[in-house]
């Protein structure tokens, strides 16, 4: 009996192998040709700088997220390598790091001085630790270096530009630009039948372009539990990826911004003062702000929103959450730019052509830390976000040939190459410079996107939303960039999950988070953290 079993397993595997090998021929030839053609054009137009002949034959190592040769973020590195080799005569090794191991591997490499990684194309979370320990080098000196290809710093969306700098210095090269928006079903929102029903149920006109969180909540509750796509099953209002460790905390950050970041009085509402436009800590005392009423209300809102979607989503990662929207079972999806690209892929999506994208709404009620009261504003408090990793390159202090690396990263940051990366969705690089957004506000043409497969209307919605988020919102939620940032965020993530699953009330959850944060701060040194924090947010003391 066992022999039979063994034999059948063996032959089953052989057959499967042959089957898969036999289909090797059917590669995606068409797309590759177009990719090559447009890439060649971009390569020809992009500034090449003047590669130093000393670099010929040299090699450096790039650490990057492990997505493979045609996957997000790592894909472009593989794709452009032959071009760069031709240009300079030098090359690079790509060391892929699985997502879950990024912090462990990168920090260990730096902290122990191993120096395996000369260059990191990584997330923006770690700047606090990078700077505190002098692990990366500032790149200002390369801006006037004739060897380096020129890239346009001014064209980068202000929130992202902040991420690439620390204090007065630049450290990061332009690459990916992440932020969260609300995707919705344009067809549903504009359907007069649903509009009429909504008015009946909620007593006001359907907000076709929602601007407050309360409106989003009402819309979500309205569509949740009804079968509006006629497949016989109830559908959902909104989906989010809220599993611990699956970047659900970014949803919270994007949402909470408008409840917490009080605009400053006077001419410059974006000015950072002790009580205005601060999100994480009190810059004078380093006390966590996480359990202040603004944050608690934001978490309550998120908890309510969670009830207007599939109950399982508190345990969902990115794939599951997006899938429900992409297959047409959710009215909205609150997430990063990936859905914009995925919605166009008929293999995973049925919503191409039906995509609406709204920049993050705001709240009319903001908590004022100074007067310790809730303030009601005339207009919703619109606070943008740069939630997400915004993967980009930094140069290690241990690198032997930093100039060579700077050339590569500058070259990838040039408008032509960066825009090419943005236009081809598989690269995982999201739009964020004026070169990516449509005329007249930006410099891109709709054809750039439609030839790579985007539906014209969908991409217009997508680009407009991000443009508004980044160039028209007066300010954005500051990223947390101090030492131990990942620890603070992990605590936030876990307690948020507790609140969302009913294991704690929002106030309790945030109290616990505040407790954790104080512990972490004390462990790392309260004074040092305070100084770092002040530098990170640009607080000059007022």
């Amino acid at each position: 009996m066992s022999k039979f079993f063994r034999k059948s397993v063996f032959w089953g595997l052989v057959i499967l192998l042959l089957f898969s090998l036999s289909l090797v021929a059917f590669a995606q030839e068409e797309m590759s040709e177009l990719e090559k053609k447009t890439a060649d054009e971009a390569f020809a137009k992009a500034d090449k700088g003047q590669p130093d002949p000393d670099w010929k034959g040299k090699k450096f190592t790039i650490a990057v997220l492990a997505s493979g040769p045609h996957g997000a973020i790592s894909g472009p590195l593989y794709f452009w390598r032959p071009y760069w080799e031709e240009l300079t005569g030098a090359t690079y090794d790509i060391a892929e790091i699985p997502f879950g191991e990024l912090q462990a591997k990168i920090f260990t490499d730096f902290a122990t001085g191993t120096g395996n990684y000369d260059c990191i194309v990584g997330p923006s979370f770690f700047y606090g630790d990078y700077i505190a320990n002098d692990w990366i080098i500032p790149i200002d000196k390369y801006f006037d270096d004739p060897r380096m290809p020129e890239w346009d710093r001014e064209s980068i969306a202000p929130p992202i530009r902040e991420l690439l700098q620390w204090g007065d210095n630049w450290y990061g090269f332009n690459n990916d630009h992440d932020g969260m928006v609300i995707y919705y079903r344009k067809d549903l929102f504009n359907d007069p039948r649903w509009q009429a029903e909504f008015k009946e149920e909620y007593g006001y006109d359907f907000p076709v372009s929602p601007v407050t969180w309360q409106e989003i909540l009402d819309i979500a509750k309205f569509f949740n539990g009804k079968d509006w796509n006629g497949d016989g099953k109830d559908d959902f209002g909104i989906t989010m990826h809220l599993k611990v460790g699956e970047q659900g905390f970014f949803n919270y950050i994007a949402l909470a911004g408008s409840f917490v970041c009080m605009p400053a009085p006077g001419d410059d509402p974006a000015k950072i003062t002790r009580y205005h436009n601060v999100f994480w800590f009190d810059p004078e005392t380093m006390e966590p702000l996480i359990n202040t009423p603004g944050h608690v209300k934001a978490l309550e809102m998120l908890t309510e929103l969670t009830k207007a979607g599939p109950s399982a989503m508190v345990g969902w990662g990115l794939g599951e959450a997006w899938d429900v929207f992409l297959r047409g079972n959710a009215a909205m999806c609150f997430t990063f730019g990936d859905v914009g690209t995925l919605s166009q892929d008929p293999r995973v999506s049925v919503v191409q052509g039906k995509l609406g994208v709204a920049p993050i709404p705001g709240s009319k009620e903001v908590y004022d830390l100074e007067s310790e009261q809730w303030v009601t504003l005339e207009e919703p408090n619109l606070v943008g976000n740069k939630c997400g990793a915004s993967w980009h390159g930094v140069i290690s202090s241990y690198a032997e040939d930093p100039d060579m690396i700077a050339h590569f990263l500058s070259w990838q940051a040039t408008p032509e190459i960066n825009h090419w990366n943005v236009a081809w969705g598989w690269t995982g690089i999201d739009p964020g410079t004026t070169y990516d957004f449509l005329e007249p506000a930006g410099k891109a043409k709709i054809e750039d996107y439609t030839i790579t497969g985007y539906d014209a209307e969908d991409i217009t919605q997508f680009l407009d939303a991000y443009y508004t988020l980044w160039f028209e919102y007066p300010r954005s939620v500051p990223y947390l960039r101090i030492a131990g940032a990942a620890d603070y965020i992990e605590s936030l993530d876990i307690h948020m999950s507790e609140a969302l699953t009913g294991q704690a009330t929002p106030q309790e959850a945030w109290n616990r988070a505040a407790q954790d944060w104080n512990r972490i701060t004390d462990q790392l040194g309260r004074e040092e953290q305070k100084e770092l924090y002040k530098e990170a947010i640009g607080y000059s003391g007022e």
Binding site: S20, L21, L23, G68
Partner: protein, 281 residues
């Protein structure tokens, strides 16, 4: 009496069917997930061709584009598994023979055995950090050698106890006459005892191999790129767009095949190995 037998038979057969379905279901699901398009993975469909369109894209992508990585992963897992099993067997068989044939006085046999056995009780989490720091100093991070050493350590208790029982069962007369004839103890060990206890050695070897093959914590922490085994590759299917279950499925299947085939060949001895000989399989 007959009625009772029939009832028990029915229950038995139901139990068998339920048990078999229960045990094979995850594998079945892995197989169909590996041939599903990513969109279909979250949709319910059991039967290929009937309920969903199968695709070879996942396997193709894995074997072609990620082929290098996968090959390296399988190779590393294989080397780590085999080498650590061999090292564990070598050291373990020596110790097992010693415990079987000699009476130690300063520390009693029983205590030595219990001490060796207690190594199995050590939570890896308790020593993972020192290992990391020590290996870092020795330059053994991201090396197959490092992982072999670690997995051999975990395998030694198995090897010792299984071989000890096996040697104890061997009649001593053969060995004694060989000794009298002038052979050294080591020759007796290697030329007579080892071959006779071969089945038990194989069993212990397979167990060590399997545990090394599935080991995750140390592999995850110690390997960067060169020494990455299959278990870490499986965990590495998570990227900016979430966990790619179709690749998890392909890798899980690829990772489960070698130990299963090995297990099938020696399944008689596995029971013995698993319980340190407390029971004769």
């Amino acid at each position: 009496m007959r009625k009772k037998r029939r009832w028990t038979n029915i229950i038995l057969w139901i139990a068998v069917i339920v048990a078999v379905v229960w045990m094979l279901f995850p594998f079945y699901w892995a197989v169909i997930t590996s041939i599903k398009k990513p969109a279909d993975v979250f949709r319910l469909s059991f039967i290929p061709f009937v309920q969903f369109e199968p695709t070879s894209e996942n396997w193709r992508s894995e074997l072609q584009m990620r082929g290098q990585e996968i090959k390296r992963g399988l190779k590393n897992s294989l080397i780590i598994g085999v080498c650590s099993a061999l090292v564990a067997l070598f050291i373990g068989a020596l110790a097992g023979y010693g415990l079987a044939r000699y009476k130690y006085h300063r520390v009693k046999n029983r205590d030595i055995t219990m001490w060796i056995l207690s190594q199995r009780f050590l939570p890896p989490a308790a020593v993972v950090i020192p290992f990391f720091l020590i290996f870092k100093t020795l330059g053994l991070i991201d090396s197959v050698v490092g992982l072999v050493l670690i997995n051999a350590t975990f395998g030694i208790p198995f090897a010792v106890l299984v071989t000890r029982d096996a040697f104890r069962d061997l009649p001593e007369e053969i060995e004694e006459s060989a000794l009298v004839d002038g052979c050294s103890r080591f020759q007796v060990f290697s030329r007579i005892a080892l071959p006779l206890a071969a089945p038990a050695l194989v069993a212990a070897g397979i167990i060590c191999f399997a545990f090394a093959w599935n080991e995750f914590l140390f592999a995850f922490i110690m390997s960067y790129s060169k020494a990455v085994p299959m278990t870490v590759l499986i965990a590495g299917t998570q990227d900016t767009q979430g966990i790619q279950f179709w690749y998890v499925a392909t890798r899980m299947l690829m990772a489960v095949v070698p130990p299963t085939i090995l297990a099938l060949t020696v399944q008689r001895y596995i029971v013995q190995g698993l319980t340190f000989g407390a029971v004769k399989g």
